[in-house]
């Protein structure tokens, strides 16, 4: 199981990597609006130029930025065709059964595909330049206001960061268990549905047992080290945003505002 996971953090020394994760997340949301608001030639131009500029700042390789795209080619083609062929209109160029090819349909399809591509590259930029831990911490800070509605933001952040840190270990354990059961002669190709369902138990049961064992050990270790509930966790001292972060936020807000008028 050596498939690399896409959208994962890539270590580089760039402005984007050094940027405060809170500011980066806010900028991301602003730029997301820019990408989704693109409708006219000018607004697409603005979105594309912005995206290319941010990509250049990130110092990331082209392949890292487009890794998710290549995997989604078929999906993109399918959504394009769905939009192009099923757009209901009077001015059909070509008609066959339920399929109606129209100019509006093609334009609509291109819009959807362009939006998906822009958003995917943008979210790749975020996840490639920010470690998952930074991201969850930033999310925790930004979601603070939700506490008004009695949503336990800290608890959610704890759960998410533990979940992220467990993924590689569990992946390896799952792989070992799969190999061990295959070595014992496990098979998965039964035609009988109940038999087929049962044949997955040798995989699923040990994987869950391992995972729950890990949770059990970690809870003991955390309690032993004096964990007293998420609410009373001592927080790192608040670090104010740097000037560069504020500048970036300002630029992104301007671009976002401009986009509304284009």
């Amino acid at each position: 199981m050596n498939r690399s996971m896409t959208g994962q953090y890539v270590q580089k020394d760039s402005v984007l990597h050094k940027m405060d994760a809170r500011a980066k997340l806010l900028c991301f949301i602003l730029l997301l609006v820019v990408m989704l608001k693109a409708k006219t030639v000018f607004s697409y131009g603005l979105a594309a130029v912005t995206l290319v500029a941010v990509c250049a700042l990130s110092k990331l390789s082209f392949s890292a930025l487009t890794s998710t795209l290549s995997r989604m080619t078929t999906f993109l083609i399918v959504i394009f065709l769905m939009n192009a062929l099923f757009f209901s209109t009077q001015e059909a160029i070509w008609k066959w059964g339920i399929f109606t090819l129209s100019r509006e349909g093609i334009v609509q399809g291109l819009h959807v595909v362009a939006h998906v591509v822009l958003v995917l590259v943008l979210s790749n930029l975020l996840t490639c330049t920010t470690t998952p831990i930074e991201l969850t911490t930033a999310l925790e800070v930004l979601l603070k206001p939700l506490k008004v509605f009695r949503i336990p933001v800290e608890m959610i952040a704890l759960v998410l960061s533990v979940a992220l840190s467990f993924i590689p270990t569990l992946l390896q354990e799952a792989d070992t268990i799969r190999k061990a059961q295959i070595a014992r002669g496990a098979r998965f190709e039964s035609r009988n549905l109940i038999e087929k369902a049962r044949s997955f138990l040798p995989l699923i049961l040990p994987i869950f047992l391992c995972a729950f064992r890990r949770a059990d050990e970690l809870s003991l270790a955390m309690e032993a080290r004096g964990y007293r509930g998420a609410a009373k966790r001592t927080k790192k001292a608040k670090i104010p945003l740097k000037k560069s972060d504020l500048l970036a936020l300002g630029i992104c807000s301007c671009i976002c505002a401009v986009q509304f008028f284009l």
Binding site: L158, V159, V162, F166, E189, K196, L201, I204, L209, A211
Partner: protein
């Protein structure tokens, strides 16, 4: 039923979320297991049953989201209805476990999960028809995509989840629901 500490339930929820990412990848090498059997449903249901409705809800929301972010599966277009479906699974499974008490833990589990699986499918179908694919999603599509195409998956979930609950109780990783007198 002796209750688990909130920390322990939070950590179990965390590993269930991690499993939402790991299981589809682990099943990847087995032909069409990932798409037909929907392995992600199992941790969401189990998290609700074991950790209660709120952690179940969190697992159902965060599991597919993280998986989609890290591995590209499920694809963006399917993500929102799937998050709704799994979140309802976790929530309802947890709620049902608080009310159903038949004195037999496996019976409680099976009843709770069946209700959860039904409600989850109804809510996800309704959400699709009203929000995500408004106007294009029909009753026939709902039945075919959420029931008929899912039969192997549903059978596997019905076999696996009670078996898991039983094994976890046996291994003392979760407290017994009805301790022996």
């Amino acid at each position: 039923m002796t209750k688990m500490s909130i920390l322990k339930r939070a950590l179990i929820c965390a590993v269930c979320i991690a499993l939402c990412v790991v299981l589809p990848m682990a099943f990847h090498s087995i032909p069409d297991a990932g798409s037909i059997l929907s392995p992600m449903h199992i941790p969401a249901l189990l998290c609700g049953l074991v950790c209660g409705p709120w952690f179940g809800l969190l697992c159902g929301l965060a599991g597919p989201l993280l998986s989609s972010q890290l591995t590209g599966m499920p694809m963006m277009a399917y993500l929102p209805p799937m998050m709704v479906e799994l979140a309802v699974y976790g929530l309802v499974a947890g709620l049902m476990m608080q009310f159903v008490r038949t004195k037999k833990s496996l019976a409680d589990v099976v009843i709770s999960m069946i209700v959860a699986m039904l409600v989850g499918r109804i809510v996800a179908g309704a959400a699709k028809a009203l929000i995500f694919a408004a106007g294009e999603f029909t009753m026939a599509m709902w039945i075919s995509s959420y029931f008929v195409a899912m039969i192997p998956g549903i059978i596997m979930h019905l076999v696996a989840v009670p078996a898991l609950y039983y094994a976890l109780e046996k291994a003392h990783l979760i407290p017994r629901r009805y301790p022996k007198a």
